[in-house]
Structure formats: C-alpha cells, structure tokens
C-alpha cells in the first residue's frame, strides 16, 4: 500500500515539490536531493505506519526540512554563521498537519531551466527532470543518450545555473519575447517525446498531461503573445486524437484513417478557444500556422467526410514560407501526395536532404509509403526496414511491419 501511494505521489507532485523547494532555497541540487531523501524516508516509514492522508504534503514537508538541514550543513562548512534553527516538527506533527498547500513555483522553475544562458541541448532535459520529474533513464532514452552522458549534461547545466547567478524569477516584460520562445520550444520538444508513444503506455506517455497544464499556465501568463495560446492549442489538438491513434491489434492508425468519433471533443473545444485567442492577436507565426493545421484535421467529424487534404496542403505552403526545413517539407509531401499525386510527392521527398533526415523515422516511413504506392515494392520494403531499424514504439512498429509485409513488387495502389 505504502509503495503504491509513494509512487503515485512522487510522480504526480514531484515536479511541484522540487519547484517549490528550488524557488525557496534557490538551488536545484538541494531541491532534487531533498526530494529524493524525502522519498527514501517515505519508503522506509509508510509500509509500517501506513501512508499519510496527504502523501504529497508529507513529502513536501519532509523535503523542506531536508533542504533546510543541508543548507545549514553547507553554511557550517563554509564557516558562516548558521541561521537560527527553525522549530523542527515531530513525526506526529508531520502526519497531523499535512494539509499544507504546496506553492506552485513550476513556472519559475521552467524559466530557470530554459534560461538562454543554459545550453539548448540541456534545457528540455532539465525541464523534464526537474519540472516533470522524469527519471534519468527515461530522459536518456527519449533523447537517445546514455545515462552517463545525460547525467553529465544535467550536472553541467545545474552548475552553470548556480555559478552564473541565473535568477529564480519569471522574467520581466522586456525580456518576455526571447525568453518565452526558449520555453515554448522546450515544451514542444517535451510534448513531442510524449506524443511519439501513440498507445500512451510507454514510460513517457503520462507526462503529456503535465505539458498540457504548463502550456495553459503560459497562455494565461502572456496574453499578448500569440505563440503561447497557439502551443496550448496545438498540444490539445494532438492529445485529443490519442484515443483513435491505435487500433484493436495495437497498431498505429495514420491521422487520415483515424475515426474522428473517437477524438476527445471537449479537449478539441478547449484547443479551439486557445487557437481563437492566438488568431485574435493577429498571430501568423510558425506556431500559429502549425496549430491551424491541427485545427483543420480536428474539424473532421466522421470518416464519411473527406480528409481536409487541400486545406492542409495550403497551410503547409504557408508554413514552408515561415520555416523552410526538411521536416516541414516532408510533412507537406504527405498532403501533396493526396492533392497532386504520389509521383509529385515522391519527387519532392527524393530531393530532400537525405543526410539530415537519415535518423528521422517519419522520413523513411513517408518515403516507403510513397514508393509502395508507386509500385516500387522492393524499394518500399527497404525503406520500411530502415524505419523499423530506428526503434519505433510498439504501435508504430506493428503498423510499419504490416505495411512492409503488404509490399509486393509491381502492385500499384493509389490509396492506402
């Protein structure tokens, strides 16, 4: 019983607790270690005495005390005069007085983790570690890094934050624009990692809701910036489709074949209102256009309605003007195949920078699909193998295998 309660509380409230302690003590290491220590104490105490009625508040309180102890030890070591000790609550007090509200300092912590003085590669990992509470192992897998390499990156980033004097504050309006962009990009990466797992059963699917929450807070905080509500809309549109992304056999379902009846309508309605806010701010930036593409898809009500390919293609044309990169062009090619034909799309995909996309799974999957539909079965099969070799999630693997096995040289098919 105790272990289950601890796992749940640590997972759900971990980020909030670490953020609250980091904001109070202005030290990421102390916050992280204090929270780990509180979890260790809970693991020792709860199985015998039973979990407290508010496990998260218990963890917060104990972690605060651990942090305070550590601060005192450090001060003593540095031969500074220690602060007068705070009255230490007894274990009974901790259990009784556990209805304390944990202050939500996560936004502050995000701005620390995404400070421009922190290396770009470290920002998303640090946010996922400290704000979303992912384990080193989970983040390392998401970023295709070894545990050791990731730990080193995180350690370096935390040391930089401490030594350079990065403030634990939400920046003032003058710095908003630059700072916000760094935060939004980080959340985009974080959500993409959660979204990759279509079935939502992998180790990182659960924190999608965390990213949704953080985007809502940002959208409320910066009403004048269209990109914040646009990102809030985008992750909601994407998340709303989750129930339809996997079929009964556990295989991924491509967007155009998903049954819109299964999509989460209330979440789409929420996304629509965020998107309306972004549009009202006359936002025409990259993120606003990207959210429009999601909105076009989510406007579909049933499989009887034709997919919105021509709208989607027009939006991708706009997107290419905003940000011309191989990934945007690859996504555009998928729509292009439906509007202008497979041959035109395949031509476009073959012209993309192969070296840049070699390790990008959707590149091989899109190429394979277009080759298959052009009747080039053998090449299609090779492209599917290349996609499978990049370690897809289980749902995606099943879908790719099925498509690969359906490849027979010489059979032409214009619709999947």
């Amino acid at each position: 019983m105790g272990a289950a309660a601890l796992g749940k509380a640590a997972r759900e409230a971990g980020g909030r607790i670490v953020a609250a302690i980091a904001a109070r003590f202005r030290d990421l290491d102390i916050a992280e270690e204090a929270f780990a220590e509180a979890c260790a104490r809970a693991a020792a105490a709860w199985p015998d005495r039973g979990a407290p009625c508010d496990p998260a508040a218990w963890l917060y309180r104990v972690a605060q005390r651990c942090a305070l102890d550590e601060m005192r030890r450090r001060r003593t070591r540095e031969r500074h005069r220690p602060e007068p000790p705070a009255p230490a609550p007894t274990p009974e007090e901790i259990v009784i007085d556990d209805a304390e509200i944990i202050p939500d300092e996560r936004l502050r912590l995000i701005f620390v983790c995404c400070h421009p003085a922190v290396s770009i590669e470290a920002r998303a990992a640090l946010t996922l570690r400290l704000v979303c509470g992912l384990s080193i192992d989970e983040i390392a897998r998401a970023f295709l890094l070894s545990d050791a390499a990731l730990s080193q990156r995180l350690t370096r980033a935390k040391r930089k934050i401490r030594d350079a004097g990065v403030p634990f504050e939400v920046p003032g309006p003058a710095a908003w624009h630059d700072r916000l962009d760094a935060v939004l990009s980080t959340l985009e990466i974080a959500y993409a990692k959660a979204h990759e797992d279509a079935a939502g059963e992998g180790p990182r699917a659960w924190y999608a809701s965390e990213v949704l929450r953080l985007t809502r807070i940002l959208a409320e905080l910066v009403p004048e910036e269209p990109d914040a509500p646009a990102l809030a809309a985008m992750v909601r549109y994407a998340e709303a489709r989750r129930p339809a992304r996997v079929d009964d056999t556990g295989a991924m379902v491509p967007l155009s074949e998903q049954d819109p009846v299964l999509w989460d309508r209330p979440l789409i309605a929420e996304a629509n209102s965020y998107q309306a806010v972004a549009e009202a701010k006359a936002g025409h930036g990259y993120r606003v256009v990207q959210a429009r593409i999601h909105r076009a898809w989510c406007a579909r009500r049933s499989l009887d309605e034709p997919p919105p390919w021509s709208d989607v293609l027009a939006l991708y044309d706009t997107l290419v003007e905003r940000r011309d990169d191989p990934i945007v062009r690859l996504n555009r090619a998928v729509a292009l195949a439906e509007v202008a034909g497979v041959a035109v799309a395949l031509d476009e995909v073959q012209r993309l920078d192969r070296d840049a996309l070699e390790r990008f799974l959707p590149y091989h999957a899109v190429r394979a699909d277009l080759l298959r539909r052009s009747g080039r079965g053998e090449e299609a099969r090779e492209a599917y193998e290349a996609a499978l070799a990049l370690g897809p999630t289980s749902a995606e693997r099943r879908w790719l295998q099925r498509r690969r096995d359906a490849c027979h040289a010489g059979i032409r098919e214009d619709r999947p």
Binding site: A117, D163, A164, G165, V166, P167, P171, A175
Partner: protein, 114 residues
C-alpha cells in the same frame, strides 16, 4: 553578485594604436554608461591595443616573459566593467548596453567570491 563584463572587439576599428576618432566616441559612451550605473559600477576601463600586452607564462615551474597577448584572436579584450548586481539577468541587461564601435561580444563572468 559581482560580474566582469569583458569587451571583445576587433581593435582595428579604432585605428592604429587605438587612436582614431572611433575611440573618442566609444570612450565617451563608456563614461556615460559608468555614470548611469552609479553604485552598481565597481571598476573598469579601456585597455591599450593588444600589441602593448606582455605575458608572463608559467609552465613546468619556470616562468618566461613573452611579447603580446596570451592568445592571438580575431577579436581582442579591449576593456572591461566590473559590476555588482543581483543576478545574471541584471548583468545581461547591462551587457546589452555596453557600447561598441561595430560588431563585438561582451563576455559575462561571475567573480568567484560572488
């Protein structure tokens, strides 16, 4: 916290031996910044051209004296400000105001003693 703002520019923009009119103009702006900073400004100043540098290097316990800066670079350390502010964001805000003749970079480094 105390930070050192190190000003790196291609010193050729200031003419031979940093005596051109660009120097007078930028030096005036530097003084204005110093006045604006008031008590935040702890110290600083402009440096003569890198050609005036002398380097004492210690290696394997013995010391040698060289003509020139410790490293030849495209942009040279041309001056510095030492400031006392609350955090990095304040230091960045001041670094953005440091006048330059043309392109250049301001490196912000916290002092060990904080």
């Amino acid at each position: 916290m105390q930070y050192m703002l190190m000003i790196y520019e291609d010193e050729r923009v200031y003419g031979p031996e940093k005596s051109g009119p660009a120097l007078q103009e930028v030096a005036g702006k530097q003084r204005a910044l110093r006045d604006e900073l008031g008590a935040v400004w702890v110290g600083g100043g402009g440096l003569r051209a890198a050609a005036s540098a002398t380097t004492v290097r210690t290696a394997n316990g013995s010391q040698t004296i060289h003509d020139g800066p410790f490293a030849e670079t495209k942009e040279q350390l041309g001056g510095f400000h030492l400031i006392d502010v609350a955090d990095l964001d304040e230091a960045i805000a001041i670094a953005k105001k440091v006048p330059l003749a043309e392109d250049g970079a301001i490196e912000i480094r916290p002092l060990l003693s904080g």
